[in-house]
């Protein structure tokens, strides 16, 4: 149905044209789900945008053919193209939170779309809309349809989005990371829905995602992309099962498995990442040893509760607080890694902030190595824990001050905690630390924006280590990274943890990743602990149903495919 031949998309820039997609070839049949997989910057989304004709200015299709049935998409003028959108091709965006007009009722948005393409009465349009929402699994759609987007939960919203994309019965739907913003539970529901639509309604899907698990689960055929080029394509089982290309193999190797813990990922040296040079690495290593190796330190949380003031709605009565964490109690044994898993809103990050003293618990006690650990503002700026507990954040793009040089960022903890008073010594130490995390020494004089996400995350780790911490808190350190980069970072963290006997609290929504890191696991949901235990037991014989469900729903690849 859709045939794309040597499609080439270019973006003019002041450095001349940048080729975003080159000689792309693919085809999608009726009712086929075609996965388009690749790491960030691979040009997946650009392909989708080119097909539906929504390339961001000033990008343009430089070459190639795009045929939808017998319509040549490149020959259409502005108006024909617009008329075709929705009618025959439609699109689903990543974030359901932002893809609906917040000021319009769902009903209006649906009806408006239907009427835009079909000459039927409003009443008919409404009935169709209702049926559609039913089909999407929204109870008493007729009533719910009157609501505004903000009145739906994320999953529901994505269903509405899909309904909107479907309401005009398009032949092809381009789904750009449709489940990335969703929790596993919702994700699997949405994936099922897509599968069903493909089978029942015979809609063709182009499923753009970076998550190989998702592809493996529902894609019939798959195209692997890198740097705007097609690496290989074909039936999913064949491409992912017996990959021909090295890149595909590496990709598969980097995917963390859910069902077992692997010591080290097999990853190629990413460009820019150097293997720690003995001299330098050791220097920093020795410096760290002096501070850390002896007596690692543990954490204990006892009956910790965290609540935020709710939104005030009356002059008189105080709003009921919103409880973020309820009766949290667990131990982090010295020198071990505790993984904390949970869906969004489970309170993972709140927990991290509480430990680091950004948030004050309303009740409960925290201790570090037996000594009480005050929370929030009560923790003095010069409290020892300020130094001993360091954190690695989720977003590598915002965790480093983009206006400061790497050198300044790294040196900050050194002088702040008076660990190294001499300026030159600080600089040298920073350079060594960089090489320890696998970064070249030149990096020290550059600005964060000159590095990739993975590199920044390494720098963030270096910054944390330079405080000579005993406890390292990692809040979703890899969730913004591509799998291969994620693999590298996980390797790094494992290495450092082993080397310096760091106590690590590793927070992630991704069970597979946590399994690779954690000795013990804490499963959070809605601010409550559902299950605690050694990760082996929790992963193999979960007791809480919630844990069971999570494990069941996480998309996995057939064991057979593993390289």
């Amino acid at each position: 149905m859709l045939r794309v031949e040597n499609l080439t998309v270019k973006f003019p820039s002041r450095f001349g044209d940048v080729t975003a997609v080159e000689d792309m070839v693919m085809s999608i049949d009726v009712g086929e789900i075609h996965g388009l997989v690749g790491e960030s910057g691979a040009g997946k989304s650009t392909v989708g945008a080119a097909i539906i004709g929504l390339l961001q200015k000033p990008g343009y299709v430089a070459d190639g053919d795009m045929m939808l049935g017998d319509t040549d998409l490149r020959r259409l003028d502005r108006f024909e193209a617009h008329a075709l959108r929705g009618k025959r091709i439609s699109m689903i965006f990543q974030d359901p939170q932002t893809s609906l007009n917040p000021l319009m009722r769902i009903e209006d948005q649906l009806i408006e779309t239907i009427l835009a393409h079909e000459d039927i009465s409003v009443a008919d349009a409404r009935t169709r809309a209702v049926d559609l929402l039913d089909e999407m699994g929204i109870e008493n759609a007729a009533a719910r349809m009157q609501s505004y987007p903000h009145q739906f939960s994320g999953g529901m919203r994505q269903r509405v989005v899909i309904a909107l994309a479907l309401c005009t019965n398009p032949e092809l739907i381009i789904a750009d990371e449709p489940t990335t913003a969703l929790d596993v539970a919702v994700q699997s529901q949405v994936l099922d829905l897509i599968r069903r639509l493909a089978d029942v309604r015979k809609v063709g899907f182009m499923l753009i995602t970076h998550d190989i698990g998702v592809i493996a689960q529902i894609a019939d055929t798959v195209t692997v992309m890198r740097h705007g080029k097609m690496i290989e394509n074909g039936p999913t089982a064949q491409v992912l099962g017996q990959p021909k290309e090295d890149y595909t193999k590496q990709l598969m190797a980097a995917v963390p498995p859910l069902d077992r813990k692997i010591a080290r990922f097999k990853v190629p040296d990413e460009d820019g990442i150097i293997t720690p040079s003995e001299a330098r690495g050791n220097a920093a290593e020795a410096w760290l040893m002096r501070g850390i190796k002896e007596d690692p330190i543990g954490l204990t949380l006892d009956q910790v509760n965290v609540a935020f003031p709710g939104v005030r709605t009356s002059l008189w009565k105080k709003p009921d607080p919103y409880v973020a964490l309820r009766d949290i109690s667990f131990d982090v044994k010295p020198g071990t890694v505790v993984g904390i898993v949970g869906e969004s809103g489970s309170g993972k990050s709140t927990l991290a902030k509480t430990l680091t003293g950004l948030i004050k618990p309303v009740s409960g006690t925290m201790t570090m190595g037996g000594a009480p650990l005050p929370g929030g503002r009560e923790r003095a700026r010069n409290h020892p824990s300020r130094q001993l507990i360091q954190m690695v954040f989720q977003d590598p793009f915002s965790s480093l001050n983009s206006r400061h040089r790497i050198g300044a960022i790294l040196a900050e903890p050194l002088w702040l905690y008076g660990l190294e008073t001499d300026k030159d010594a600080r600089r040298k130490l920073c350079i060594d630390m960089l090489s320890l995390v696998g970064m070249p020494p030149e990096a020290i004089d550059k600005y964060p924006h000159q590095f990739s996400g993975g590199q920044r995350q390494r720098i963030a780790v270096a910054r944390a280590l330079l405080a000579r911490p005993k406890v390292l808190i990692c809040d979703e350190p890899t969730s913004a990274l591509d799998v291969s980069i994620q693999a590298q970072l996980l390797n790094l963290l494992k290495g450092l943890q082993a080397a310096f006997g760091l106590t690590v609290v590793f927070i992630s929504h991704n069970l597979s990743v946590v399994r690779q890191m954690a000795d013990d696991v804490v499963v959070l949901r809605n601010g409550k602990i559902r299950e605690v235990g050694a990760s082996e037991t929790v992963y193999t014989t979960p007791t809480a149903d919630y844990t069971k469900r999570l494990l069941a729903l996480t998309p996995v690849m057939p064991a057979a495919w593993r390289a």
Partner: protein, 301 residues
Amino acid sequence: MRDFIKRYEGLYLFSRSPAVIIAAIVGLAIIIGAVFAPWIAPVNPYDLSSFSLMDGLLPPVWEEFGTERFLLGTDDQGRDMISSILYGARLSLIIGVSAMIIATVLGVGLGLAAGYFGGRFDAVVMRIADIQLALPAILTALLIDGIARGILPPEVQEDVRVAVLTIAIALSLWVNFARTARASTFVQMNKEYVQAAVMQGQHPIRVMFVHILPNILGPLLVIMTVDLASAILLEATLSFLGIGLPADSPSLGTLIRIGMQFLLSGEWWILWIPTLFLVALVVSINVVGDFLRDVFNPRLR
């Protein structure tokens, strides 16, 4: 990546927008002329002995009766227009720039703190801002001016005129900065690099000024240019309302006010040449401001 590109992209875009280039040149020319007025200007218009009533109302050189001695003619005092304008532009800029700077320091300081500490402090600052907003620019200026007249002994009033105007204008501008700084600070507060700094136990002052401030400069810079323009205009307006600078040390605004008397009398140059300069100055500042806005907000391109 983002602001690295931006820096060079700024230059790149600049090189490709003739309007901005022209504006920049014109603006710079006037500013330089103003700054070096004492060396450039033919005579010093503040020195009463330097001009004579005899030369009064001479037209620009290209008109009939115009002389090379006064290229742009003279006013009713026999004062050389070029000199008056250069010195006038100088005063206008001094007032505009210093008002803008005061407003920036005050507004950004309060805004940052409000955004950083939030809570009560924030509430208080914002209420003060409300009050300020409820007293629009002109009224604030009139108020300050009135108070100054009242509390200062007459003999010093002339000398502090500039200061009074500056403060009055600054007060009417700071809210802009405060609100923007506050809003951007709120955004930055959720950025992880700020949390990291706080978590490490760095001093609030350091977090505010070393970490946050550099990251919110963009929008502030835009406001600075826009407000510089409006400060200069406001000064002109106040002069029109008769609470500007005295006529013997005229700003551009005062010159225009004086010129208004000659609107119909045929001595057009006394009104229109200073007006032309003022407009040229303000337009070029605004154009540059616009340009910066686009640079700092790529989405507007």
